[in-house]
Amino acid sequence: MRAFEYVTPKSKEQAVGLLSQNWGDTELLAGGTDLLALMKDDVVAPKRLVNVKSIAGLDAIGYNARTGLRIGALVRIADFADNADVRKYYPTLARVADDAASPQIRNQATMAGNLCQRPRCWYFRNGFGLLAKDPQSGKSLVVEGDNRYHAILGNDGPAYFVSPSSIAPALIAAGAKIRVFGPSGARELPLEKFYVIPKSENEREHDLRSNEIVIEIVVPPPSGERFGHYEVRQKAEFDWPLATASVALKMSGNKVQAARIVMGHVAPIPWVCDKYVEATLLGQPLTETTANAAGVVAAEKPGKSLGKNAYKIRLAHVAVKRALLQAVKET
């Protein structure tokens, strides 16, 4: 690991003042479970590391029936998963957090760090950049190379990695917003808008400027929606999923009134399904047949293989189907 200057700001204003205007010069350190790995491999080499854990007041979870759940950026994944209000009012989110990574990592990693973790694309992790271009030919190494874990949606280029957080899609299905603090104060945006597909190497995979920090995640109060979340994993723990689906359903009797479906690990961003997927369900009872039809429209129709990842289209289809069926199962 290269040497760096280490600073511990006490406030978010101080932290912002210590951050550079350019990506790469400085990085924020939370739990470090992702960043330190990138620094050991020299993929990221900041001159200054700004520890956000020294900032006071960002480590609380608060629940209020009217305003919902507020999750401080520094709340650890394990504490989120164990929180009594989260377990009671957002059991699906608690389960998703409990299934991420391994116990030691959940004890150390923060919720904001989870949402901002960098892609697992092996070209990126081996120093070929976020867009993984061949330095000589400028062609995509992913398209030409081993893309078995890469995107099946939103993969027209130049980015082909998949968004790595397994918690983000579930938070998006629950309608979460993210609050960001920068030189001109705080701003709030829907979590789905936080993720963007980078077009060049000096962009990142989220809508965060290099001198901004995530301070809070806000989830609206439950409003009678039914949630489901299904992960397809090669290993039960210790690894990222291959495909996930998170769903939020409004039912009227046994018929679907509104459906929000978000797929994870299939695109460079958490993939919010369009109205055509919802249309397959609206006014219908949720059955094997309708859930399957939604999976087909969500994944099989738009999905595009890069050569070695066609199997992921099928996995995403099944994840959508199972998440939907799980949401309406008697609790």
Partner: protein
């Protein structure tokens, strides 16, 4: 260089360290406690598991400066007055180790697990130790040892309570 104060197994250690020094190197090279092993150094194997403020973390993926002002517990702190900790005893009795490389990490992670769940099921033990790899035992005896330790610890707590 940064000066840090880390309480290791109840003893305060002050040192000047480079910010890039990993906690596991601090434990082994600065504090001289080599019970915490380094396997992969990439937060996969769990051999380096220690407790940070009482919770299991992978000390190869924490900077020593991140532990500044906090307390760390390593395998060296488990035995007291020449008496093995029930987990250490049970690992021995149940043949839960062969080469022993993964053992300190396994035991530290198990001690965190038993701290929050005194009688875990087999499944809970497997989940609790899912961040630790063992290349020798096949895990079966490790699960058995944690179960046996949990029974011992409950008996001892009951015995102490009865004495009072």
């Amino acid at each position: 260089m940064k000066s840090v104060e880390i309480v290791v197994n109840g003893v305060e250690r002050r040192a000047q360290v480079e910010p890039r020094m990993l906690l596991v190197h601090f434990l082994r090279d600065v504090a001289g406690l080599t019970g915490t092993h380094i396997g992969c150094e990439t937060s996969l194997c769990g051999a380096c598991t220690a407790l940070l403020d009482g919770r299991a973390v992978k000390s190869c993926t924490v900077l020593a400066v991140q532990a500044d002002g906090h307390s760390v517990t390593t395998i060296e702190a488990l035995a007291s007055e020449g008496q093995l900790h029930p987990l250490q005893e049970s690992f021995w009795e149940e043949h839960a180790l062969q080469c022993g490389f993964c053992t300190p990490g396994m035991i530290m992670c198990a001690s965190d697990l038993l701290g929050s769940n005194a009688s875990p099921s087999d499944r809970e033990i497997r989940e609790g130790l899912s961040g630790n790899l063992c290349r020798c035992t096949g895990y079966q005896n490790i699960v058995g040892a944690v179960k046996s330790a949990s029974r011992k610890m409950k008996r001892r707590t009951a015995a102490t309570a009865a004495k009072k």
